[in-house]
């Protein structure tokens, strides 16, 4: 009986996320307020049904009352978060809000299935982050000095990165985290944001050659510090965000060419210098050659994706626990295995949808500082998504980056909430401004 319910839910869940994703893109071609509201409402219905079905399967498989209670707590959280945001800010981007919830919902489902304790921990952090970051749009709206303190951002960021370099803990060969009062924090997740603020504020001042050189030097210092801590995935994300912002600020293809050339050169250097980079590139070109050793991670991820096929094997029917670091870097593979390749593809499209919303907003914003913020944060976000999903599916070599909002990890969760909070702030700012224009 359990299998029957699970079997039917499997297809329903895929249908629901497909409808959800459809509205995510259909939304953009809708002009009238009425239709848009209907689209986001339907998305929410899909999300809550999907959430229910998945948790039903979880309950049938585990028979755990604790997890049933956990489901109710999640329901309360989603309902509270959605309504509070709309209560405080009339002009919030409902689409982005839905996407936040959908990604979190996927995360909670998969983590509960993999490791309930971690899921609950993740949930607590998410709830906390959601509550704290609720204030961000308010700050963006009122504190206009944000654009005038670039060197404060740089000093803050560099200090944190230096601290990690000197006293950080090592995991998987990279120095990533600091211990603060019993908690392990990954500063580079947060410095990403201060980094984007720094560059946006610098380019807002001017995009003269001298200023570009100065900005580049400070940005390069960030990247070098990360490289020194062997956080190459992080270094790459910072670098790409910097390039995108430089390109938008100057529209100068020579700078872009120089940057890309420099990036390519640095990649070759990294390949030569770091044995673990070489290992990963080798595992990428042919993971089957050395399945038991260097190709192990990639091969396990591909086994999961391949065995799951389009429709997945269903929750609790696969073996995602065979994949190393499955709840962090490889969560996408676990989703593909149990919830299905189609679900995973929808997830990929939802992430892309978030990015496109960021860019659309950047397009609409007039103030250069805000425009740059949207572009920078969007790039940080989408690069991270690209590196994870690309690495897991063997589209590119593995970098060991987590999927924002979905993978397990407190710092990443908190930082992503801040990024989405800032974007919501900018969106609300723009909507309010347009409303005022219409009234005035």
């Amino acid at each position: 009986m359990t299998n029957l319910v699970a079997g039917i839910s499997r297809y329903l869940i895929i249908l629901l996320i497909t409808i959800y994703t459809y509205y995510n893109f259909r939304f953009f071609s809708m002009k009238d307020e009425e239709g848009r509201n209907r689209a986001v409402r339907r998305q929410l219905i899909c999300m809550f049904m999907l959430h229910f079905l998945a948790n039903l399967v979880i309950f049938l498989n585990t028979d755990s009352r604790l997890l049933a209670a956990f489901y109710c707590a999640q329901l309360l959280f989603f309902a509270g978060y959605l309504s509070l945001y709309r209560l405080f800010y009339r002009n919030v981007s409902r689409l982005l809000l839905n996407n936040t919830c959908m990604l979190l919902c996927t995360s909670f489902i998969m983590l509960t299935r993999l490791n309930p304790n971690r899921a609950i921990r993740q949930f607590v952090i998410a709830a906390l982050a959601a509550a704290v970051t609720l204030v961000i749009p308010f700050v963006i709206d009122r504190v206009w000095q944000l654009a005038s303190i670039p060197w404060l951002y740089a000093a803050l960021g560099l200090t944190l990165l230096l601290a990690v370099f000197f006293s950080g803990d090592t995991s998987y060969g990279a120095r990533l985290s600091l211990h603060v009062g019993g908690f392990s924090v990954q500063p580079s997740e947060f410095v990403k944001i201060s980094f984007v603020f720094f560059i946006a504020a610098m380019f807002y001042r001017s995009s003269t050659f001298k200023n570009v050189v100065l900005t580049t030097a400070a940005a390069a210092l960030h990247v070098l510090l990360l490289t020194a801590s062997k956080d190459l995935g992080g270094a790459l994300i910072y670098f790409i965000a910097y390039l995108a912002m430089l390109f938008v600020a100057t529209s100068n293809t020579i700078y872009l060419g120089l940057g890309l050339g420099g990036g390519a050169g640095a990649s070759v250097m990294a390949y030569r210098l770091f044995p673990h980079v070489r290992r990963r590139v080798d595992a990428w070109t042919d993971p089957w050659k050395d399945v038991a050793d260097s190709g192990y991670q990639t091969a396990q991820a591909l086994f999961a994706i391949g065995t799951g096929g389009w429709f997945g094997v269903g929750l609790y029917q696969g073996m995602p626990e065979k994949i190393p670091v499955v709840d962090k870097d490889f969560l996408f593979a676990a989703v593909a295995e149990e919830l299905g390749g189609l679900y995973a593809l929808c997830l990929l499209l939802i992430c892309l949808g978030c990015f496109l919303q960021f860019m659309l907003l950047a397009f609409r914003l007039q103030a250069m500082f805000y425009k740059q913020l949207a572009v920078g944060l969007g790039t940080v976000y989408i690069t991270q998504v690209f590196l994870t999903i690309g690495g897991v599916t063997k589209f590119i070599p593995l970098t060991g980056v987590t999927l924002p909002f979905v993978s397990y990890g407190g710092s990443s969760m908190f930082a992503t909430f801040i990024i989405f909070g800032v974007i919501q702030g900018l969106y609300i700012l723009k909507e309010n401004e347009e409303e005022d224009d219409e009234e005035g």
């Binding site: 390109f247 696969g318 995973a344 499209l349 589209f395």
Partner: protein
């Protein structure tokens, strides 16, 4: 409000960037989709993938059937729900069908995914689900011909060796026997004994695909092909006078049993399997081209077959010394070949130079007998051009009509083939080889026989091939 110039430029850059990222993500999505669609089954079935084993908790392993539906392997569940894998033919199909425990070999391993997948009708599946029963796995229908397999096994008898038969124009494997064999019903119980024992026994080894042997005179096919390539139009007129022993520099090459073949032309030397005549060709050959031909014919390369196999080895370099050349061209020296590979070469000749990918599974069907997946013949590639294949076929026909292959000479059909008596240890009898096909006009079956320490190919191996030809071609 009008945007300023910098703003407009920035917007264009944002647009460009968004297009770029979207294109990147769409390619990634397509990449993943293509992977799931084209590689999914393969990685699912990968020996390192632990996931398949868990399917056995929910699906009763399907049966493996012969090409006429005869059961070769099935799972029987007793009243208490204990499952046993049964092999009704005992040791007959032990190597090709393999066993499912301990570990999996042969088709049991290769078809694992199909056997553990269930495409039973929806109503059956729901019924079983509701009554909490396991689903019925799909059945795999092989290309194996039970009658032919029995004949091949009987003909080989208690001798060590292998017999394989295949349809040259499709690649269907009709029979595959390896001896000594074992009873897969008792593989788990007899495990100690099977893995112990002395090395000549090696019961678990599938000699047909994993045994490597010196090719002996069957290799003259390749030497002949190289010589024909280097001397188009004139090779047939070359003459040789055989006295039973051929002297070259300080070396001597003997014919089998020191038989003096007298004066002979190229076709006669091939039909007589004259070592002297072929050894004489050796030093004249372009060794670089000869090595390339061997690689083209799949030496030192992966073979397109689904069950475990060994690679054949050709190791003579273009700088080789005289003695190595003299030995290598007559199939001795360091060259090693698997019977399966030898069969593939002879099949390509039978099929006008085109090698078909050998395959074992005709189709997969669900418990109700509906076809779920059909396997079609597929071309591996052209090993030689059609003219060369036809010229070789003429030579091989002469072997049967006038030479060492007289055991397969009959009025009923015209066979073609080559014998071989491969020396591997001076103190022991030679391995007896025969590769061939029939009927020459329209080949329906190609056969490879090896009998370890069987003596001469003509008197030991060819008669076994004859039994297969007769059984398959005569009403």
């Amino acid at each position: 409000m009008k945007k300023d110039n910098a703003g407009q430029k920035a917007d264009r850059s944002i647009l460009l960037f968004s297009y770029f990222v979207s294109a990147l993500f769409l390619s990634m999505a397509v990449y993943m989709g293509v992977f799931i669609e084209t590689r999914g089954e393969e990685v699912t079935n990968h020996p390192y993938n632990a996931r398949l084993a868990s399917l056995a908790d929910r699906v009763v392993r399907g049966s493996i059937l012969g090409n006429d539906g005869t059961v070769l392997a099935r799972t029987v569940t007793d009243e208490e729900g204990n499952e046993t894998r049964e092999y009704p033919f005992g040791s007959l199909f032990a190597h090709v069908v393999g066993y499912a425990a301990p570990g999996k070999t042969g088709l049991e391993s290769y078809a694992n995914f199909y056997l553990l997948s269930s495409h039973d009708s929806l109503s059956h599946r729901i019924m079983k689900e509701l009554s909490d029963e396991k689903q019925t796995g799909d059945n795999v229908v092989t290309t194996l011909d039970v009658g032919l397999q029995q004949i091949a096994s009987d003909a080989l008898g208690d001798r060590r060796g292998a017999v394989i038969a295949m349809e040259p124009d499709t690649g269907k494997i009709l029979a595959m026997v390896s001896k000594p064999s074992f009873d897969p019903n008792r593989a788990e119980d007899d495990w100690q004994e099977l893995t112990g024992g002395d090395s000549t026994e090696a019961r678990l080894l599938n000699r047909a695909t994993q045994g490597v042997y010196p090719p002996g005179s069957t290799f003259k096919i390749i030497t002949a092909l190289e010589y024909m390539r280097e001397h188009p139009g004139e090779y047939s007129s070359c003459q040789f006078d055989c006295s039973g022993i051929y002297l070259y520099q300080s070396y001597q090459i003997q014919c089998f049993k020191r038989t003096a073949h007298g004066n002979e032309d190229f076709a006669e030397a091939f039909a007589n399997s004259c070592n002297g005549a072929f050894a004489k060709l050796g030093p004249e050959l372009d060794l670089e081209a000869y090595g390339n031909l061997c690689v083209q014919l799949l030496f030192n390369r992966e073979l397109p077959i689904a069950i475990p196999y060994s690679k054949s080895i050709f190791r003579m370099s273009p700088q080789a010394e005289s003695w190595e050349i003299l030995q290598t061209v007559i199939g001795q020296g360091g060259t090693l070949i698997t019977p399966m590979h030898n069969l593939m070469i002879i099949s390509a000749i039978a099929n006008g130079g085109i090698l078909m990918n050998p395959y074992f599974i005709d189709h997969v069907e669900n418990a109700g007998g509906q076809t779920i997946k059909k396997f079609m013949p597929s071309v591996y590639g052209e090993l030689m051009v059609a003219n060369e294949a036809h010229a070789l076929t003429e030579l091989l026909t002469e072997v049967v009509l006038e030479g060492t292959g007289s055991a397969v000479r009959t009025e009923a059909y015209q066979a073609a083939g080559k014998t071989g008596s491969a020396e591997f240890d001076k103190a022991k009898e030679t391995h007896a080889w025969f590769v061939g096909f029939a009927p020459v006009e329209n080949p329906k079956i190609a056969v490879c026989v090896i009998v370890e320490e069987g003596g001469s190919g003509g008197s030991t191996a060819a008669p076994i091939a004859r039994k297969l030809f007769d059984a398959y071609l005569l009403p």
